[in-house]
Symmetry: C2
Subunit: 798 residues, 2 copies
Amino acid sequence: MTIGTEPHDPLDASELESLHRWWQAANYLSAGQIYLMANPLLREPLRPEHIKPRLLGHWGTTPGLNFVYAHLNRAIMRRDLEMMYVIGPGHGGPGLVAASWLEGSYAEIYPDVGHDLDGLTRLFTQFSFPGGIPSHVAPETPGSINEGGELGYSLAHAYGAAFDNPGLTVACVVGDGEAETGALATSWHSTKFVDPARDGAVLPILHLNGFKIASPTVLARIPEEELRSLLRGYGHEPRFVIGDEPTAMHQSFASALDDCLDDIAEFQDRARRRNTPDRPRWPMIVLRTPKGWTGPPTLHGKRVVGSWRAHQVPLPGPRTDPEQLRQLEDWLRSYGPEVLFEPGGAPIPEIRELHPVGSRRMSASPHANGGLLLRALRLPDFREYGVAVDRPGATTASATGVLGEFLRDVLRSNAEEGSFRLFSPDENNSNRLGAVLDATGRNWNAVREPEDDAALAVDGRLMEMLSEHTCQGWLEGYLLTGRHGLFSCYEAFVHIVDSMFNQHAKWLKVTRELPWRRPIASLNYLLTSHVWRQDHNGFTHQDPGFIDHVMNKKAEIVRVYLPPDANTLLSVTDHCLRSKDYVNVIVAGKQPEAQYLDIEAAATHCTKGIGVWEWASNDAEGGPDAVLGCAGDVPTSEVLAAVDLLRTRLPELRLRVINVVDLMRLQDERQHPHGLSDIAFDSLFTTDRPVIFAYHGYPWLIHRLTYRRANHENFHVHGYNEEGTTTTPFDMCVLNKIDRYHLAIDVIDRVGGLGAAADYARQEFQDTLIRHRRYVTTHGEDLPEVRDWSWPSWNNRS
Amino acid sequence: MTIGTEPHDPLDASELESLHRWWQAANYLSAGQIYLMANPLLREPLRPEHIKPRLLGHWGTTPGLNFVYAHLNRAIMRRDLEMMYVIGPGHGGPGLVAASWLEGSYAEIYPDVGHDLDGLTRLFTQFSFPGGIPSHVAPETPGSINEGGELGYSLAHAYGAAFDNPGLTVACVVGDGEAETGALATSWHSTKFVDPARDGAVLPILHLNGFKIASPTVLARIPEEELRSLLRGYGHEPRFVIGDEPTAMHQSFASALDDCLDDIAEFQDRARRRNTPDRPRWPMIVLRTPKGWTGPPTLHGKRVVGSWRAHQVPLPGPRTDPEQLRQLEDWLRSYGPEVLFEPGGAPIPEIRELHPVGSRRMSASPHANGGLLLRALRLPDFREYGVAVDRPGATTASATGVLGEFLRDVLRSNAEEGSFRLFSPDENNSNRLGAVLDATGRNWNAVREPEDDAALAVDGRLMEMLSEHTCQGWLEGYLLTGRHGLFSCYEAFVHIVDSMFNQHAKWLKVTRELPWRRPIASLNYLLTSHVWRQDHNGFTHQDPGFIDHVMNKKAEIVRVYLPPDANTLLSVTDHCLRSKDYVNVIVAGKQPEAQYLDIEAAATHCTKGIGVWEWASNDAEGGPDAVLGCAGDVPTSEVLAAVDLLRTRLPELRLRVINVVDLMRLQDERQHPHGLSDIAFDSLFTTDRPVIFAYHGYPWLIHRLTYRRANHENFHVHGYNEEGTTTTPFDMCVLNKIDRYHLAIDVIDRVGGLGAAADYARQEFQDTLIRHRRYVTTHGEDLPEVRDWSWPSWNNRS
């Protein structure tokens, strides 16, 4: 690097020198992590046994990440900023670890990795090493909220972090590989959902590193004007910093960053004085540097720096190839470890002290360990929102409609704190949560027109964009920085974020093993517009498989609730909003449905999670001839109707109805903390009676949960069998054989030997099914006896 | 509409009039489908009983779709174009059905829905009616390849259709709601992966309808210059058509469409004469019209047209509200049904005949019923690519590396036909399929630089973009139009397209019930870089759950294969490439691994799908004391190593090794067409011996597949338990207890009563596990006895 400054350069010579030296140190430490397990300061010539036996890690993106880090630190110190650093190209794990180690935050968390030779050796050895730390930016990395394994979520996470944090600036490096993913490509439009007055700012830094694993990247290979046009189209004003000569790059980047931060300050200042009606054109930086910058230029005559060959380990064989060993030593020595570090292993004071203080260090930001900032939500008493239910079935209500009123007041109670938001892909009203609009607006910072719903508001707490990815990413960022939220989504389309759920669940699993990571609020899904009531939208909208997907993750992380009515939904949601470090999946209907339990009974039932509904059962004497299990609102109502059919026709038949709210109760207590003991399970489901189980989703799952139970052979599960189209809700049940008639027939068949009355009833039910099919396809509505089915007398006996 | 033309207008008065009349007819038929079940021509005053009891459907987007259809037809006729119409806003189902009915293609497929009063009544009644047709553009809709239920995939499907179809122009309406999804947002970049010489063209029409279910859309609410900038950033030159006055809109759209088609013709012509080195700036249209255009302006004083209220059924209550009934009648009569249709129900000749002929009709395009065009792939004999295996374990090979050579020659054999492509999110080489680059290039039509891999080629058949969504969407479009392909993907990240898989599987399920839909080539996934060999990338890259996800779909659609070595992978892939109408999931490793079966044995084993490996078993006399099952390459090698440990130490113990390639063989024959009978299953797994099963994925699945089998209680499944980090591959096995030592201990414990030698061996294995942990975290590599484990003598006895 040539040290020399021009009058208009933002950095004077000494600033330039210290910045550069810090960068050199971070780069040295990054390369050291990838390669070395001994001789960390190169105090002796490099020998094969100093090199790790298995070289794992990604160099390519790392020097760029370190470069940005150094400059952000300068800005934080000069401006006393509160900043976070979200890294899209998370393969660059060693860079972030190096920065944390240099800033001292690493040793604060991991005391045996301090500023001495032992610590330095451990820093190098542990990286990508069995029993050590992962190769990516991960939960183990101080200052991180974005796992760098699966790409695409950095920008949405950054916005989630910035919401309701007016003092925070989130620098977000977007990799040019990551930028090709769907999730990332649409999250640029977050610019229309940020309030410069109430929220913090996101500063995207698009890093044109040039190559993915093997191919060039799209955004690095379109003309600069086309890229500028694209980014302006996203609502940004990009500043380009391009090159590889360090001095020029330092000056250019410092200047661009200063300009961006000036713009952000001005936009926020204007908005906070309330004299800016317009959405600002937010600044951003495009940083184009060679992949593997400062690394070995070539290997065996082939280009490394500036090519895809720099993606992972640029010199793959230094342990066996003396030529590569020499190249590696030259490369490492090019950073000047002898001037960067003291003989004892600590960075020299000029480097060691070149960072913001305390929690201003990005690697020590409390926002990146959100549990530190988490405050419990103020929750109104959910009992006050309960629907009156004098007797089961007497009242009809929309479960999500009732929940909307509770959520409205949760929003109100936490408005001042600014710690709760709702997220939905334009489905809030469709999901009958419209009441929340009395408490907040629908977030919107794009053009408004006269005919718009008055609810659009720049500072709305209802976040709606027709991108499940962005909604989920925002929510994750919001939770990871210590706030609360709920994602309401059509059940079928939550599969769009299967993979994001995976990554969040994995993040939670790892953080639970890290004592310094404080618990965060749970990620709460409300899945509605569910499979049984997507009769109008048809087959594409019918998929209850997210529950199955969720169940593959660690039992200590996931919870699944199927409240059968409004009051149980209230109780379950209240519970979920208080919980930490879980993913809670709540499945509930939005259509007006019969209500079964008053609010106290609902609370009791939900606390148990499973229970016999005695008011619907008639097995008090002698135990049941058959057990009818149900989980989910529509299965529950069909089971109750089946019980009515059977009790009317076969009064001697003893039936027990068991409703399951907390699906995990079915599992073995050794498999899941909510699991029932075998004794408790057997006392509910018996060890030898047939169990006809109507389940909301794919029937397999109930078998999977119960296959070790004594009575499992007698479980007969009805559920969604991937049969559907545009039809009536009841016909959906019939197509999948979960309707009252199929259930009643199954009970008769499984109990067996019930005599002539049962044979007659069975025939009647089968005839009804045939009549149904004919009627519904002719009239477009259900049989009168189905439509007008009224609640029987037995549920009056309280 | 004012009929009047200016000299520069593209449409003369008569053309304008017929276009407009066709549009009116399509709009009338669309509204009729939503509302009417009788009185289809309004020959008598509208009465409540003419209205369907349940009103389902989406009006909002429909008139715009009809408008575009009319204009495309004009262009097809004038230019003799071959066009397809891909509809992103697929809620507009009635529009496409109306167009097909007008063109006569509907009655060709559904003869009872013809051009007479009965047919017209049926057309109206069947829509969104039980036993009728879905409300969206669906498999049932002639001319469609894109289900409009879940949004986001139209543009990728359109490009998939255009690849290798140089004569085809695919008009693709992108909804402004859909445009907010991740999948759609990134698929605009397909412009860098289309070859103007060899491929057809995609003409995107971004329809700014203005509103989603409840909110405005982002792209309709950014300034026009910002939108133009965005679209130019995607590589397009947009032409804007904005308004609501029909005459002006017809002229303006016709003019824009003419210009776009001129540009496309010129770009293609230039490219095909080989004098255009540059990627063209492809034309597109932005069409801004009011939502619900031509519908009822208001309801109860609130705006309908031009607002979110027009999204579904604009007048929801005409059956009960006389005012709405009157409004509906006025609205329907505004199209002039008495002049559009003959008394017999047929459209008047001027409308009936206003369409292209035969297969030029978009609703009769053979491309949209790709099975019509499907020709079998020319496949070289996979046996010629087999790895020599003199005895099990003697050879080492990378399974995907070997497969790459086969795929290379599949590409070569079908190069002329142009009917086979590979798709991968930049993972082809990482997945060791590099040999294919000898036969084709990596598709790339962006800027190239000197240091690039020479494999980049405008006409490459290897499609790599770092977007699983786009890869999957392209492939679906390619298959649906009658070609073949294979998607290779990291196993963990295929979850990104869980939801796209769902929709494709649903599409296949429905098309199998439609005789006129001809079978298409299967969607083939090759999942590699799988959970057991993502030790280097860590926990985020470890997820074998896609198999579970797939298993929820209809048994007749899905197939899952876990070939244990290279030769079985060859055999399985050959089979999958010949199959139709399935989704095939193949999971196979890329790392060099032991090979077990020579190519003939592999072919036989794969044909059976499951079988005893007698060379590894020693239960010939008296049957087994224990069965060791395995499915997947790593589980298989650990099972074989466990057998070695046990046979060395406990030679009296009789073991049977069963390898499963076709996972569905485990299932009951009543559940899946590949399922084994109980007799066959029991003869393999016995009815009373312990079965220690090492499975590639989450262990639940094996229980789910076998829970009805006699011996299920004795199944003890080892699989992935969501434990992982950056470590060695063998340590991954240990962490999840699927390694040889845990398996061997489990055999000893489950068989029981094996005496002192077994107790001693058990203790030895436990000690080894403890030593392993200590060794691997110290040395970063596995115990020498694990690394150097060599194949035992027993596998020599063949």
